[in-house]
């Protein structure tokens, strides 16, 4: 029997980064907010403490903090001629679960996208002309500009206490920062983290080649910080257990450190964990949501009525929530029509490995998740693409995040996979190697999309999300180009052997690349090519807001979290100052 609960003003599906920030803004504005989280309640103390928290087997290899794939995986195929099959173990990307969401296990790499990224279709045409792109590339403008988002980027960075060095304050280039960045209104809240040896070597080599190295913006803090919410954070000690782990030191900015204590103290907010939302409920017109239906940990089914529904799930789960609920028209790749699931994109990751003599001591285990040094000279549209046959690029950096040995034991190309030669190579190179991350953009393309799987089900009997994805030719060309640049830097560092690994097809679910899945519920100004408008409001059901990296029409050259934080505050403003005062369409179709 379904138990119908008392109506509230707002129901938030997923209490991660987006959900906790929005819930706090709306509860503080006087609205009654219920947050539904499928995972468990967890805090820095006692959940994230030693001795258990630095367990490489449990967290890296067994993926203890991730979405329960025994109940809720996805299916995958490279193209529509194949049958999609379940991804039976997570490898390529790692969506989290539980209070605080995927941000609990992030690395803290906190970037802004550039002004160009938000108007990518328009600016590409302006600079390179019509017909520059492959015909099946479906990039588009976001419907929101960098200038509109700048105050919200600023607010998000000050919430987190991000450690970095500005490169452009109100148009004035700042020494030591990234000269390619779009103008920011002020300096980062805290100075950069200390530089690792690998970063220092990279800095020297990149400077010598005429590039512009800068310290990676890090939300693993360089010094103690009190954020505008009054919450205190600590200095990161470079313990080397960051991504895939929770932080026991209050040094990595996560909802647990920057917002949850304030949110949970507000009596207008109620947190319910262990709640698996089955669908957003619509009325008979299908144009108004009436609330959500969820099943709790004990198997009991509830209906939670609400005036406003915010889905703030990890990107792929936002797509699935809309498809399961009938919000928006599903995308059909054959006809090229429909919008939900369209423009699913990813990140095109390449690597460069540099192997040094044994007198060069690297100490890879001394690391935060974002204490690298990098260049943006080959990111985005920071270089001329004329004649190259692709758009986009990658940041190139010595981004040394850990030396945890089950995962990290680099060996030069040609080393056997096992036996004495393998073991000798592992021992010889472990402390004398540097890995670059080449963090590449991802164009959207007509054939890449997500829909509901016709065969496989979750533990509640609902269809799984089916992802159809292959790397576009545009991005493979980009990967080859930037990897060659990375190899030059590796050689300039004095490495005796440098091995570049440009990303190649086919895309595989079996190798970790990144958890930067984007698209599928994209934002824009045209309802025929977007699911939500520029305020991330559903075109079809205006009391549903869909907030996540699923809104990105394509993915840029940087980690997506900073931009999602800015969008979250952008939406908070629109909700408080526009929508909730006069509910209805914020943009007329």
């Amino acid at each position: 029997m379904v138990q119908r609960l008392k109506e509230v003003d707002v129901v938030v599906i997923g209490v991660g980064m987006v959900g906790s920030i929005l819930a706090k803004e709306l509860a503080a504005a006087g609205y009654k907010v219920v947050g539904l989280e499928r995972g468990s309640t967890r805090f820095t103390v006692p959940e994230f403490q030693s001795p258990g928290i630095h367990d490489e087997l449990r967290f890296d290899i067994r993926k203890a903090l991730m979405q329960d794939n025994t109940r809720e995986p996805v299916t995958f195929r490279n193209n529509t001629s194949q049958s999609a099959l379940p991804v039976r173990r997570w490898e390529s990307f790692l969506p989290g679960t539980g209070l605080g969401g995927s941000m609990v296990h992030w690395n803290g790499q906190t970037y802004r996208f550039q002004a160009n990224d938000f108007e990518l279709a328009t600016r590409t045409k302006e600079r390179y002309g019509k017909g520059f792109l492959d015909a099946d590339v479906t990039i588009q403008d976001w419907g929101v500009t960098y200038d509109e988002l700048e105050p919200h980027y600023d607010r998000f960075e000050y919430l987190l206490g991000t450690s970095g060095k500005a490169g452009n304050i109100k148009g004035q280039i700042q020494p030591g920062g990234d000269p390619h960045e779009s103008p920011r209104s002020r300096e980062y809240p805290t100075p950069p983290q200390k530089e690792h040896f690998s970063g220092a070597l990279f800095r020297k080599a990149a400077t010598g080649l005429g590039y512009h190295p800068f310290p990676q913006p890090s939300s693993n803090l360089s010094q103690p910080y009190t954020n505008p919410e009054g919450l205190k954070m600590n200095t990161c000690v470079f313990c080397g257990f960051c991504e895939r782990y929770a932080c026991e030191h209050y040094a990595k900015s996560t909802p647990q450190t920057f917002i949850l204590p304030v949110l949970l103290a507000n009596s207008n907010f109620e947190l319910r964990t262990g709640c698996q939302v089955q669908r957003i409920n619509l009325d008979s017109t299908k144009k108004t949501a009436t609330g959500v239906t969820y099943i709790d940990n004990a198997g009991r089914e509830f209906e939670q009525p609400a005036s406003l529904v915010i889905t703030s799930l990890f990107a792929i789960n936002n797509i699935r929530m809309l498809l399961l609920s009938g919000v928006g028209k599903p995308y059909d790749p054959t006809a090229g029509k429909g919008v939900v699931g369209r423009n699913y994109a990813y990140q095109t990751m390449s690597t460069v490995a540099s192997f040094f003599d044994e007198d060069v001591i690297i100490n890879p285990f001394m690391a935060s998740g974002a204490s690298g040094t990098l260049i943006n000279d080959f990111a985005g549209d920071n270089f001329d693409h004329s004649g190259l046959g692709f758009i986009g690029g990658a940041f190139i950096g010595a981004v040394n995040t850990n030396g945890r040995p089950i995962q990290y034991h680099p060996t030069p190309p040609g080393t056997p996979g096992w036996g004495k030669a393998w073991k000798d190579a592992v021992v010889k190179h472990y402390n004398h190697s540097i890995m670059f991350s080449l963090h590449g953009s991802s164009v959207s393309q007509r054939q890449n999309y997500a829909d509901l799987d016709p065969t496989y089900k979750d533990a509640w009997g609902q269809p799984l999300l089916r992802i159809t994805f292959e790397f576009p030719q545009n991005d493979l060309k980009m990967a080859a180009y930037v990897t060659a640049k990375g190899v030059e830097i590796g050689k300039a560092m004095g490495a005796k052997q440098v091995a570049g690994s440009p990303r190649k097809a086919p895309y595989t679910t079996q190798q970790y690349q990144t958890t930067h899945n984007t698209g599928g519920t994209v934002m824009g100004n045209d309802p025929s090519t977007s699911v939500v408008n520029r305020y991330m409001q559903s075109w079809d059901v205006p009391n549903v807001f869909v907030i996540g990296a699923s809104a990105y029409p394509q993915n840029a050259s940087w980690n997506p979290t900073g931009t999602l934080g800015a969008l979250t505050y952008w939406v908070a403003d629109a909700l408080k100052n526009k929508y909730l005062k006069n509910p209805g369409h914020l943009v007329s179709a």
Binding site: P46, H54, T70, Y250, G403, H409
Partner: protein, 263 residues
């Protein structure tokens, strides 16, 4: 000593296993903790009854999952994947087979974190593992087929020369023959992955004994504060590694000005 008869323990492997149990292999002898045993003896006069404190470290793992025929293959195969040599201990001295035994006998072996609903269709490499076997079922099935196969040919795996063992492992890895429904390359891949895991994982999981693998590469282990060291570039970090088991005193990092938890 009586061992339970199982269908896949032949007379020959039975005899070989009994023989193996009575001889400590050189690698195992290296890690027998004789110094600790001597110290313990010095503290407790021979006349006093042996107290509960400090039992001698066992010289061989107690295998709970693998049967004797399986142990012979696993011990010998792991040692070829990561052999003892001048750079340090191999998989056997690191007790990697013990790690495999405990993992396969526990939740991981039973399919922890594995989506286990059909239909079962074999796909592309990009789609990954699509067999219905749990890791425990996969090992059991493959090992039985391997031992049956070897028995037809002559000596068991543990009796082969190192070169012949390597050749057999390569045939599992590359030729991908059928092991009673398990493609041999899939078995080999899982064996290799788990061997590397057991070698480098925290010793609380039963491998990486005495943190031999961490000492060998210079990994300081689970806990260290590198705030003062990180910008002293190129300086070797000299400290014995630390296992998560060594910080097991309920110590909790509480900051006095930060609320422990709310709600």
């Amino acid at each position: 000593m009586k061992l339970p008869a199982t269908p896949n323990v032949t007379r020959r492997s039975f005899v070989a296993s009994v023989g193996a149990a009575t001889v400590i292999p050189p690698a195992a002898a290296l890690i027998a903790n004789s110094a600790e045993a001597a110290t313990a003896a010095g503290h407790h006069p021979a006349t006093a009854p042996a107290p509960a404190a400090a039992p001698a470290a066992p010289e061989k793992p107690v295998y709970l999952f693998f049967n004797v025929a399986e142990v012979q293959f696993i011990e010998a195969a792991c040692e070829r994947l990561i052999p003892a040599d001048e750079s340090g201990a191999g998989a056997l001295a690191a007790w990697v087979p013990n790690y495999l035994d405990k993992q396969l006998g526990g939740a991981w072996g039973a399919g922890e974190r594995l989506y286990r609903s059909g239909p079962w269709v074999q796909g592309t490499a990009s789609q990954g593992y699509q067999l219905p076997f749990t890791p425990a079922e996969l090992f059991r099935t493959a090992l039985r087929a391997i031992n049956t196969d070897l028995e037809k040919q002559g000596p068991m795996f543990s009796e082969l020369s190192a070169e012949a063992q390597d050749a057999y492992l390569k045939s599992l890895e590359k030729d991908n023959h059928d092991l009673d429904g398990v493609p041999s390359a899939v078995f080999f891949d899982m064996l290799l992955r788990m061997t590397v895991e057991g070698f480098f994982a925290d010793p609380v999981y039963g491998g990486n004994r005495d943190m031999v693998a961490w000492r060998m590469i210079g990994f300081p282990g689970a806990y260290a504060d590198y705030y003062e060291a990180i910008d002293k570039h190129g300086v070797k970090f000299e400290r014995a590694p630390m296992s998560i088991g060594e910080d097991g005193h309920g110590k909790v990092h509480v900051h006095p000005e930060i609320p422990a938890s709310v709600g």
